[in-house]
Subunit: 148 residues, 2 copies
Amino acid sequence: MQKNLEQILNTILHSSEILEEKMKQDSDLKDLTSRQLYCIELINKMENPSLTELADGMSIAKASISVMIDRLEKKKLIYKVTSDNDRRTAHVHLTEIGMKAASIHTDLHKRISELLTKDMTESEKEILIVLLNKSVKSLIKNKMQISN
Amino acid sequence: MQKNLEQILNTILHSSEILEEKMKQDSDLKDLTSRQLYCIELINKMENPSLTELADGMSIAKASISVMIDRLEKKKLIYKVTSDNDRRTAHVHLTEIGMKAASIHTDLHKRISELLTKDMTESEKEILIVLLNKSVKSLIKNKMQISN
DNA sequence: AAAAATAATTAGATATATCTAACTAAATTA
DNA sequence: TAATTTAGTTAGATATATCTAATTATTTTT
């Protein structure tokens, strides 16, 4: 009952999804949609972007991001700060709750990592990490050619 | 620049998401929502469930699944077959296009697996698979206790 | 300073995802 | 057979995610 790599990936990715859903349910973030969560993660990554930058980042119209940000503001996940340089521009910041939401993915990866190496010896862990580093290198190297 | 397991997971999961999005865009399935894709995957896994079973599987109301299935039918992704035993019951089947949609995840895992082992020797591959099998066992074993 | 460009908002449209409640048709039970 | 239960649909409500077009406030260019 040895699994091949595809089946292993399947199990890991599927478990990740389930665990992520559980973490969301267990937190006070139950009613965040996937788009909203994505938006929050992007705000985190982009470090307080303007609405226009965010809209570009999410590939949606400025009007759409404006509405979305309104809703996230009502839910106390973000707040807007008007720029001093250009008073037309607003920058989006995460609140405490927003930051918690943004860290869901990171936390998830941490927990999965722990689970994956739970029953391993130190040397097994080391070998696994060396090999996976190699894997990830191939993955990144080939990313560009993936699209076809 | 050796990455730890958490960073590796991060890269793999992130690449998976991007690749999945690309595969969706490149197919004729651009306008499928994530809920619709999830629904189709579930239909595939459950093997022609009734609407009630599907609704339970997705944890939504029967009325909601009815509407959703209507839309998927209009898009030619599924079709309904009235049961001979019980003529109140309809079973949902995937069309050719529906099956294509359902296999997006599987295809994705196959491609990622290929990429991950692209630059490895056979023996490296073997070791990786043995170790990851161990990982997956821990993962499954601990799944129950994850929720807290 | 007047004209043009830019950032964000608002209005109005369409599609989706949900819900509860009411309804129809069919099957089961008493 | 009459009453009850069950499967699915329909109607009507609310929330989200999008869009384009029009509007407002500011900034930049001429």
